[in-house]
């Protein structure tokens, strides 16, 4: 009897505990949304959910230079200028400044010149900026003062440091008014070798006194840097400052809309430089201090980053004018209301694209790009190249936003290379390759049509880009039936013959010409892409060898000029053609000067025209020169112009006020969330499917039951038999 009991207990116990566990899990959270990754208590709040795949390396505005860093600091730091959110083409407008800077030209003797002076006369340009009064910094311990007006945390004692793990552990915070001096101080920080700003080298060429300051600053302490003067940057009064740059560089004004030129209170530097903070990662790179609409509340790069509304944010109204059809799209319905709308922005660490996409479909992320693999799930082409959402997306109320990015991907040739770089034959070879690389196919296979084959250096949206017949690359395309059409491969083969490689055979070896393609694409996901490149070159009979290395080695090869063919891209810093053509400017050559001209392209005529174009303001004459520049590059073909990628953004119907703006990096303050709608839809989309659990459980029971029954029967039997045996044995022993 006892055996039966214990057998039952044995089987029943895990069953019971499993049931208990399920019950516990079910009761622990809202059963309508078992898969809600966030705290259910927060689902009623106006929180925007986004993600980051790699933690931003720098949040110091003097150092940060990549898109994922700007996602954060764009909302926290405020440079004097910003781009208008709605107007196109991109237009600068004041942010903390009262107006756009007053620009005046000086000659070599510092005498003012009229605005229409000839370029060569202009020795200096002055930018005069005035800051709005009354703007205050976010609450921050670095600005906390006691009753006597002394800084509380500028001489940290070990008592104060005890128990400090994150910045929020300091009890007291303070604030103060933003002054022009903070802007001046930041420019000095750009010039400090200790800060290592990525644009220091660039600014040496422009800002007067920058280089001298850079040399001095190496031996100066923080305090001294604050006091030391930089000739080109002067403080006029509490709200006004002036920047003097060498010569004429109209693009400089764009830099004033980048976080590099955001204000930095000197107190922050003093505060963060105290010993004992760095060990806890409490540095300016991790805990920004700004005047912007948001402050960084939680910075845990291992899990999430949270931004909340800055309580001290100055008044800024949602723009009331935009492009003609903006009103129709509801983009102006919030006009005049104070920014920002969203209380809190949560960025969750999300490394993989697939979970991100799935969570987006479940409503747990508010917006998403489209990975290639989920593309046909989301997008369909309806009719003449019209792109639309699929029925399943429309059903969910998801919307699509498209924008051609201000960037270009190209295949570059190392012009120092003997085979592809030097001489007329090499030029023919390059042109043949340009025809053979069928970027239309590339875009359709690998980018799902999200891109435009490039006809030149400049992408759409940049001054100088022209559409239609005059804008095509006549060396690669023909204009037929109102469309650019890629030249036939036979023409490319002809060019190969002219280049001395008939049929792709290298006369020196008698075998197929071998070219080397350097790439950083080494992962498995890139394999199809590399195969595609091999196939394209094979069309000309060329054998392409892919040399995949990590980014490091690639950079090294580029610097040493050891690469032959490479693929690279450029994303505009500001919407001006100068920012693209400088990639081909001779004095920027990579090998000789360490510049950004990675192909080491040299053409004196190009360089001359470039210098001329650089200093001009947008005009017909400038447009004309730009077209000449384009023609030169198309003829010389140092690049195979690849494509201008197109950004597709999907967002849920509750996400309001979203419009493509590739230049502005402070877009979050304009966005609004309709929370009621979000809550309702999330609930609707995430009903758990429980029956397979029950079914699986039942299956397990069915499997085990016969065995249990069999065991019971057997154990009863064995007990009897054992008893018999036992008896027999004991008899034997007794004998």
């Amino acid at each position: 009897m006892s055996s039966n009991l214990s057998a039952n207990r044995f089987v029943r116990r895990p069953v019971l505990s499993l049931l208990l566990m399920i019950a516990f899990v079910l009761s622990a959270c809202d059963t309508t949304q078992l898969n809600n990754p966030y705290d259910p208590a927060t689902s009623g709040l106006s929180i925007l959910y986004s993600s980051f795949s790699e933690r931003p390396k720098h949040l110091d505005p003097a150092i940060a230079y990549s898109a994922n860093e700007y996602t954060f600091i764009g909302q926290i730091y405020e440079p004097p200028l910003q781009y208008h959110y709605l107007k196109r083409p991109y237009q600068l407008m004041p942010l903390t400044a009262t107006a756009l800077p007053k620009v005046s030209y000086l000659d070599a003797q510092d005498k003012p010149l009229p605005t229409n002076s000839e370029d060569y006369k202009i020795a200096f340009t002055e930018y005069l900026l005035e800051i709005k009064p009354g703007i205050r910094y976010q609450p921050h311990p670095a600005l906390a003062k006691n009753a006597a007006g002394e800084f509380l945390y500028h001489h940290l004692t070990s008592a104060q440091l005890a128990g400090v793990g994150v910045l929020g552990d300091f009890d007291k915070t303070g604030s103060r008014e933003l002054t022009a001096d903070d802007y001046v101080y930041q420019i000095k920080r750009l010039a400090s070798p200790e800060v290592q700003s990525p644009i220091a080298e660039l600014m040496k060429h422009y800002i007067v006194g920058f280089e001298d300051f850079y040399r001095q600053a190496a031996s100066l302490s923080l305090e001294q840097i604050k006091a030391a003067p930089m000739t080109g940057v002067t403080l006029l009064d509490r709200y006004r400052y002036k920047i003097t740059i060498k010569g004429k560089y109209p693009q400089f004004i764009f830099w004033l809309a980048m976080p590099f030129f955001a204000p930095m209170p000197w107190e922050a530097d003093v505060f963060y430089h105290q010993p004992g903070l760095k060990e806890h990662n409490i540095t300016l790179d991790w805990y920004p201090i700004g005047t912007g609409p948001y402050t960084l509340q939680e910075n845990n790069p291992n899990l999430r980053m949270v931004m909340v509304k800055n309580p001290n944010f100055h008044f800024e109204a949602y723009p009331s004018e935009g492009e003609p059809d903006d009103a129709g799209q509801g983009l102006l319905s919030d006009a005049g209301k104070p920014l920002p709308f969203i209380d809190k922005v949560v960025f969750t660490l999300e490394k993989e694209t697939i979970p991100y996409w799935n969570k987006f479909l479940q409503g747990y992320y508010d917006a998403s790009g489209i990975a290639s693999d989920s593309f046909d799930q989301a997008i369909q082409f309806s009719g003449a190249d019209e792109v639309g959402l699929t029925a399943s997306m429309q059903e969910k109320g998801i919307r699509l936003q498209k924008a051609v990015t201000t960037s270009v991907f190209y295949v570059g040739f190392n012009m120092l290379d003997a085979t592809v770089g030097r001489g007329e034959k090499a030029r023919k070879l390059r042109q043949a390759i340009a025809i053979a690389l069928d970027y239309e196919e590339f875009i359709s296979i690998f980018m799902n049509g999200r891109g435009i084959p490039a006809q030149g250096v400049l992408p759409p949206g940049i001054f100088g880009f022209i559409e239609g017949k005059p804008g095509i690359n006549p060396y690669v395309y023909d204009w037929r039936n109102g469309h650019p059409e890629r030249k036939a491969i036979s023409e490319a083969r002809q060019l190969m013959k002219a280049a001395g490689y008939p049929g792709g055979v290298d006369p020196k070896t008698g075998q197929a010409l071998i070219l080397y393609f350097d790439t950083t694409s080494v992962s498995i996901d890139d394999r199809p892409r590399m195969n595609w490149f091999r196939k394209q070159f094979a069309k000309l009979g060329i054998k392409l060898v892919i040399r995949g290395t990590d980014y490091n080695r690639f950079q090294q090869k580029m610097r040493a000029g050891n690469a032959q063919i490479f693929m690279w891209g450029w994303n505009a810093d500001y919407p001006d053609p100068e920012n693209f053509f400088f990639l081909l400017y001779g004095p920027n050559a990579k090998v000789a000067f360490g510049g950004e001209n990675a192909g080491n392209y040299q053409n004196p005529r190009f360089d001359r025209l470039f210098r001329q174009m650089r200093g001009m303001t947008n005009s017909d004459r400038r447009l004309e020169i730009i077209q000449q520049l384009q023609q030169i590059v198309r003829h010389d073909a140092p690049w195979v112009f690849g494509l201008y990628p197109e950004d597709f953004l999907l967002f849920h119907s509750w996400y309001k006020n979203l419009t493509p703006n590739l230049m502005a990096n402070n877009r979050l303050k304009y966005a609004r969330i309709d929370n009621q709608e979000r809550m309702q839809k999330r609930r609707q989309w995430n009903r758990p499917v429980l029956w397979p659990l029950a079914f699986g459980f039942l299956l397990l029971l069915i499997l085990i039951m016969p065995a249990v029954i069999a065991y019971r029967r057997r154990s009863r039997f064995t007990v009897q038999r054992l008893q018999k045996q036992d008896g027999a044995e004991s008899v034997r022993i007794r004998k």
Binding site: Y65, S66, K351, N552, A707, V719
Partner: protein, 325 residues
């Protein structure tokens, strides 16, 4: 006992030194400080000056092993090896190449790793023992044959399939748990349920099979026969005698891996984006942050050696015949 432990500690030192030298060689043979600087400085406008600054700030501008220019002890201490390796011995991991304090990251990230690994270990142990006991209980029946076959099949499936399949089925199709992510405190439960379940399932094949052989060996022994002869039921025999005696190898096998639980699971953590040490390591490998990888290698070795020590100690605790000397 204390004497023994002390001696083992001293024995661990040369081992760690060996690990240190080996990893140091591996990483600096393949990667020059210049490369690291370029890797970390990003893409635009990187100049030689910036690279030099970076190296200087992080101490990578020193000679590797021997500083001929320095004086006296400086010849050894003013080198990359000394600066980057010696601190590891008192767990000062220094600053990662991307500029964060490694020690504080490790302290933060070991808890999520543990939150996944510990339940996986314990539940896995329970599941394996249960399955193995069932098979032994029903030995020579269709359940045992089926169980063994199932075990072999389960252990022939790559762990990647369990993870991909589990995430697809439970997370995406049935919507029972969040697809990925992590949260602190009790909120973590809903995130770790699936990884733990997958971890248990993927381990059950080899685990249950191994325990089954342990139990079967035990079952054949004389004292078990005696117990059975005394009239104990099969279940009682299994629990009172077989399990108790087989627990010694099982537990000591568990003790070895205990410290290593902190290191987390590389694949699982990156699939479910759990911010533990496993994904920390993977990220560091991916971004070639060698300071982190070096720290993790060292930490792993320390934990491994600690595990060996714990095993020895646990032997004496469970088996009085073993004496440490």
């Amino acid at each position: 006992m204390i004497h023994y432990i002390l001696r083992r500690f001293l024995y661990a030192l040369p081992l760690l030194l060996g690990v240190n030298i080996l990893t140091f060689m591996l990483f600096f043979v393949l990667n020059s400080p210049d490369d690291m600087a370029r890797m970390q400085l990003g893409q635009k406008h990187v100049t030689e000056q910036a690279v030099d600054n970076w190296k200087h700030q992080r101490g990578y501008d020193l000679p590797l092993l021997w500083n001929a220019k320095a004086t006296a002890t400086g010849k050894i201490t003013r080198t990359i090896f000394y600066r980057k390796s010696v601190g590891l011995f008192w767990f000062d991991f220094g600053i990662s190449d991307s500029g964060r304090n490694i020690g504080s990251d490790i302290r933060q990230r070991m808890w999520p790793s543990l939150a996944v690994a510990l339940p996986t270990l314990i539940l896995g142990l329970l599941a394996n023992i249960c399955a193995a006991l069932l098979m032994v209980l029903f030995r020579n029946s269709y359940l045992e044959v089926g169980g063994v076959v199932l075990c072999v099949i389960l252990m022939s499936i790559s762990s990647l399939f369990y993870i991909i399949g589990g995430q697809f089925l439970i997370g995406k199709e049935l919507r029972l748990v969040p697809i990925s992510g992590y949260d602190t405190g009790l909120d973590a439960i809903k995130f770790i349920v699936l990884p733990v379940a997958i971890g248990v399932l993927s381990g059950i094949g080899s685990g249950a099979r191994w325990y089954r052989t342990l139990f079967l060996e035990e079952v054949e022994k004389d004292y078990v026969r005696t117990a059975r002869a005394k009239g104990l039921t099969e279940v009682q025999v299994l629990f009172r005698h077989v399990l108790k005696n087989a627990m010694i190898p099982i537990l000591t096998g568990v003790v070895v891996v205990l410290p290593l639980l902190f290191m987390g699971s590389l694949i699982m953590e990156s699939f479910f984006s759990i911010p533990g040490l496993g994904s920390y390591t993977i990220d560091a490998i991916g971004s070639q942050d060698f300071a982190i990888v070096r720290a993790m290698v060292f930490l792993g070795s320390v934990l491994y050696i600690a595990g060996l020590l714990l095993t020895d100690i646990s032997y004496t605790l469970v088996d009085p015949r073993v004496r440490l000397s």
